[in-house]
Symmetry: C2
Subunit: 310 residues, 2 copies
Amino acid sequence: MPCKTLLAGTIAAPFRSELKEEIAKSGIAPLLVGFLANEDPAARKYAEWTAKTCEETGVRFELRECPRERLEEKVVEANEDPKVNGIMVYYPVFGDRQDQYLQNVVSTSKDVEGLTHKYVYNMYHNIRYLDEAESRKCIVPCTPLACIKVLEHLSVYNAVLPYGNRLHGRTIVIVNRSEVVGRPLAALLANDGARVLSVDVNDVKEFHRGPGISLSRHEVTETDYQLADVLPLADVIITGVPSPSFKIRTEALKDGVVAVNFSTAKNFNDDIKSRASLYVPSVGKVTVAMLQRNLLRLYAYQQEESSSKA
Amino acid sequence: MPCKTLLAGTIAAPFRSELKEEIAKSGIAPLLVGFLANEDPAARKYAEWTAKTCEETGVRFELRECPRERLEEKVVEANEDPKVNGIMVYYPVFGDRQDQYLQNVVSTSKDVEGLTHKYVYNMYHNIRYLDEAESRKCIVPCTPLACIKVLEHLSVYNAVLPYGNRLHGRTIVIVNRSEVVGRPLAALLANDGARVLSVDVNDVKEFHRGPGISLSRHEVTETDYQLADVLPLADVIITGVPSPSFKIRTEALKDGVVAVNFSTAKNFNDDIKSRASLYVPSVGKVTVAMLQRNLLRLYAYQQEESSSKA
């Protein structure tokens, strides 16, 4: 088997060390508050695991539970509490547009998940900094950011190319176009120069910056493709289908493909190793590292903000 | 223009510094002898340039001219002269099979161009060391080796993959299948895991290690392709057509392609920069660095040899 399998723990390790070191060095104890307002046992488990991981690096994590009708006021309280540095909510809460409303209730300065409108807008428009001096980077949602870090670790990002264009020449298929992961991920990778073929149950859309990556940000084009058409085109395939029965047909992929799965279900068959050059079966641990990285970034912005007011 | 153009001088620089340092540190003065037995003004010019470049790094270069009928005896003399550390011949001399005979007259221990049978055999069979202990690497012909170093510099070789498989997943088109560059280059890149489509005036041959790079060395398969068919497949295109009128049709190439030209003629049109992500217009300076690198390697082997005899 020529394939090299890389575990999320290995990829997350340098980020975790860096976080730990930074926290220890500066003697801070940033507080992340997670709100659980649903009955989803998976969300609770994920919250417990987040708490444990945070503790190891020196981040304080506090899980606050409440009925969903009280969630908005609880979030507002946390927004106003200077002791709270980061806020996250376990979605779905209402499972409809009200969740999108709730995402925007979180203060931008505490939004570790990058789900408030400002961050989402900047991400889709390839605006990478909050300020003109380019000192404050925008917050990017944790799972898409984790996928980017995975692709950087695998050298799919070519560091020889200029920053912002490092995926030029790569064709990347993403099977998932959810609002929380698949669509932002497609936009981010296309903004970095890739030709992205974004697949969901309805269709395949192409996210790209045009011939010679001439556009400053991606645009989206409809295609007549189906999943089977795009699999052989993929230099990289990224999957996130939350179903144990969904599997990518290994034989349809190009020899030497890079395969990444961010779903909790295994979207690749075991024989993927006979075809892929690099395989990353899950990204969860990188996601949690990114959550903490976003928290530290926001913490620094908050300090700058309060010292500039003082 | 998103394309980054990389000059051979830039890519050669770290190799040249390394050579210079190594020579200065060990206080040696290796002697390379070049034999000119033809009337080709280009060969003379190349020889003069080699002399100049060698002088800068501390390698002594001596050009010896003779009628081609006397070349064989002159080479044998140099083989037997312990003061000579490396030998090269400017081909073509007779321009037929006799040149291949002459290549094998050069002593393997002084063959800086890697053209003697042992090196050629090992290269085609993916045998990378001269000894079982894997302490002595084989000598690889200078221009193919230069192309490899160029691709390493461009991160086309993915260092995340295991040594020997670092081109797995790349499709590389080479337009040139000469015995001195195109064919050995196709073999070397396929041995490193690439799918190579090797083009000459007659046909397109595929050099590959089979599905899942399952073979330990490359094999060659006939195809029905023509040049126009393979251009859109190339992640990397490498050209070496010694004709000023031959040009690759830019529009036929994939957006973000990596383009490398080793011919002295310009095989790409100027608009290549509107299509490629990385463009290397020539490799000559890297080739001369590799020549000196091979010389130093042979010099070290010769020292080991003579000290083990002593």
